[in-house]
Symmetry: C2
Subunit: 160 residues, 2 copies
């Protein structure tokens, strides 16, 4: 398992993401690690990131699966190029589609366990199965379609 | 168009949602209004809610579509019961599934225009078409399956 977080290898100009950018001071700082065929992450929600008292907010779950799935896509792309996490900048993907089934209410308290398994590389796209569990119980699962970032999104400026 | 926000009619114990709860001091405070056959909302992202500089964070878009779609489902259920927003507590739905297609990068700057149109009431579920636009340009669209909140989520305590 790589001890370098995938998101920490994004180029500086693409490291401002609210979900996972190391340069976003206000963000969630999601950190994903590559384990050879899937990415793994853990996340500890804060007390106010809830839907109703005692249960984690679904929009946070979507955010976690989004940034984590994007990282998994980037790692799969790197691996397909014969590279490894830590050997240089990681390609930046964006989300083309996200589908989530919320299977059970996600309890607030335990660390959340997030997995992303790339299952297909199709040109500029990578399709990733994503899931989120709490104490080993699967709470949400879905699929993310990641696309390599279009050049139109590289404005080359800005810092939150 | 009702001038009472749907979310402001949720019972107190279900008004702590990070996305739309009036009692969550840290939350996004999404506010949705019913227009007879669809719910509408606007939202102004802050400078740090971005994916890359200049473009809105996809996890925020998911959060907006989620809370807004849930509000639309609740309003449709009320209307089916012959009630109107403002005449008493609104039933609390939760998200069973959320599918989003991100059609274009969403620019940071203009207010976001969010719509939710319920298209089917099926027992305890409501299916809602959701969309998000900026300056009239459709940036994301999707579908939400809302389910009436199971009794197991009513812990009857907690305040973020």
């Amino acid at each position: 398992m790589s001890r370098v977080a995938i998101q920490d290898q994004y180029p500086d100009e693409f490291s401002h993401c609210y979900g996972c950018g190391r340069l976003n001071r206000h963000g969630l700082h999601i950190r994903s690690y590559w384990e050879g065929d899937e990415a793994v992450a853990t996340f500890a929600p804060t007390a106010y990131q809830i839907a109703v008292p005692g249960f984690v907010y679904g929009g946070l779950i979507a955010s976690l699966l989004d940034c984590h799935g994007i990282a998994a896509a980037a790692a799969a792309q790197l691996q397909a190029e014969g590279r490894t996490i830590g050997d240089g900048p990681v390609p930046r993907f964006v989300t083309a589609a996200l589908r989530i089934d919320y299977l059970k209410p996600t309890p607030l308290g335990p660390d959340l366990e997030i997995r992303g398994r790339p299952k297909a590389l199709q040109g500029r796209k990578v399709i990733v199965d994503v899931s989120l569990a709490a104490e080993g119980v699967l709470c949400a699962r879905g699929e993310l379609i990641a696309a390599q970032m279009p050049e139109s999104m590289n404005l080359g400026h800005g810092r939150p």
